[in-house]
């Protein structure tokens, strides 16, 4: 390869070389991105065409969608779904915190038990767990407190009286949720540097105080984004309870379309409600994330800046 062809390969030969006394030109011609424009155009065209087809296709039966959107049975199902989600996430969170502290405990028995729990509940499908709890009466026809190893029963009731569909649904969702939350919380706690704990200890803070005020707020920054995903996931996975005939959003729709076979419009109604709920949750998640990210972002968000100004005003009320 000759010297000149090397220069050409580097792409320098086609450039005008500025002489030492020349000023570089000031007019800049921006680089064009024809492929970007073309691909965006293609995507927009496909989306519009698809949207047009969806709206005009009579088989979607949009009038029936509108008809069922606020059907009382559907709304009652939506209510059940929301209650299930909130209850399962809350109880799962509490149980998850306990499991996480067990898991990172120095006590081998506690961490072993927590490990076993996680192994089982993360290792089996939620659907099977729900069906299993639903059929628990087959294993233990009576539930109660009795002297162990075959002694007499002190208090008790028939398993089927205790395990109503709501109880089974909450039990199944909670136990499963707790396993995932435990791992998320453990990760968050481990992400807080040990030096933070030591600094708090050196200031005389008790274990509880330093956990609450120093470790937990920092761990939450790590915990919250995946927890938001868990809540959104739970909203959707709770539809699995339709398998045990709990009238949640999906099962309420199934009850209606099993009678009149308006399957498509009812599934669309259900999907729109799920979409609305998950969208709201996503917005909430963003806000909470921002709040717990304070002190770490390079520049404070407008909201944080406002909070800082407020705090400043509050502090300046105190005479220096």
């Amino acid at each position: 390869m000759s010297i000149t062809s090397q220069a050409a390969a580097r792409g320098t030969s086609s450039h005008e070389r500025l002489a030492a006394q020349d000023q570089p030109p000031t007019d800049v011609v921006q680089l064009k991105h024809p492929l970007r424009i073309a691909s965006a155009g293609l995507v927009i065209f496909t989306a519009v065409a698809g949207g047009y087809s969806v709206v005009t296709n009579e088989n979607f039966q949009w009038d029936r969608v509108a008809f069922y959107a606020f059907n009382p049975q559907i709304l009652a199902g939506l209510r059940s779904t929301l209650i299930l989600t909130v209850a399962a996430v809350t109880m799962g969170l509490v149980l998850g915190i306990i499991l996480a502290t067990f898991r990172i405990s120095q006590n081998r028995v506690l961490s072993g038990v927590a490990g076993l729990y996680l192994w089982f509940f993360r290792g089996t499908p939620l659907l099977i767990q729900l069906i299993f709890w639903f059929n628990f009466a087959a294993l233990y026809p009576r539930l109660g407190i009795s002297i162990p190893f075959g002694g007499p029963e002190l208090v008790g009731a028939s398993t089927n009286d205790v395990l109503t569909v709501w109880f089974v649904a909450l039990l199944g969702l909670t136990l499963n949720e707790a396993a995932y939350m435990a791992e998320i919380i453990r990760g968050g706690l481990l992400a807080v540097p040990k030096q933070q704990t030591e600094a708090a200890q050196a200031l005389g803070m008790s274990q509880l105080l330093l956990f609450r005020r120093v470790v937990l707020p920092q761990a939450l920054r790590v915990i919250i984004p995946p927890t938001g995903n868990q809540v959104i996931g739970m909203l959707k996975y709770s539809s699995l309870v339709s398998i045990i005939a709990l009238p949640d959003l999906l099962y309420s729709a199934q009850l209606i379309y099993s009678q009149n076979f308006e399957t498509i419009p009812l599934l669309i109604v259900v999907s729109l409600w799920y979409l609305l709920c998950t969208s709201i949750l996503t917005v909430i998640q963003r806000r909470v994330e921002k709040y717990y990210g304070r002190g770490t972002a390079s520049a404070p968000t407008p909201k944080a800046a406002k909070a800082i100004r407020k705090e400043k005003a509050r502090l300046s009320e105190v005479p220096a």
Binding site: Q195, A199, A202, G295, L315
Partner: protein
Amino acid sequence: MSIGTTEIDQTGAAPMESSNNSPREPIVRVVDLTKSFGGLDVLKGVNLEVERGEVVCILGRSGSGKSTLLRCVNHLERPDSGAVVVDGFVMGYRAKGGKLHELRTGDAAKQRQTVGMVFQSFNLFPHMTVMENLIEAPRKVQGRGRDELVGEARALLKDVGLLEKENAYPGTLSGGQQQRVAIARALMMQPKVMLFDEPTSALDPELVGEVLEAMKRLAATGMTMMVVTHEVGFARNVADRVIFMADGVVVEDGPPSQVIDNPQAPETKTFLSTLL
């Protein structure tokens, strides 16, 4: 308490005199202290005393056990044997009936208030503003009023030249600023002894001076200080005493004029020659 003025300390004794006065009255006593980590003997019987108002610098090469010694003084580390006595109390234990009874973690935490500590890596709480960092522990641990604490915190921030940063988050401050805040935060607990573990080692060279200056002014108020440092200049100018540690024991202990300028132990000689 303030850094700027030479106050009489809480004991009522004028601190700079106490180091010259006899009878001597140690506020920190380290007695036959040993500590090992999984078979590695890090402290092999350390004995030393620090008097009220005294500034003691601890030198020694990396791994000689300096940090472990400081961490035993405020009982962040539990000694294997021996004891640390601060202001008459055995750290981490209750002396009773000729025996040491281990304290519950809550009581050990309370006991730690008497000893302030400044770390190499500052360790400010990143989710709290400077002001919140300062008032959190005295408010929650000592139950003192917010208004009173804010006033005190401002005075301390002024002393370290950071009054305008009270609402800043630590992440927005330089290392030198963070370390000065950390010093102020430790002082908010009104400790009787201050421990410094290489407070300037994580700083860019141009920021070292401001932190040493703050420490020097604190020393001038009569605060009792134990400072692990590689800043020989600081040790020579500010310390009342310099201790040299090697391999888990104190090999040399005396005024800076002796330990730094006229070292006797071969370890001290080698170490100082590598610094120069």
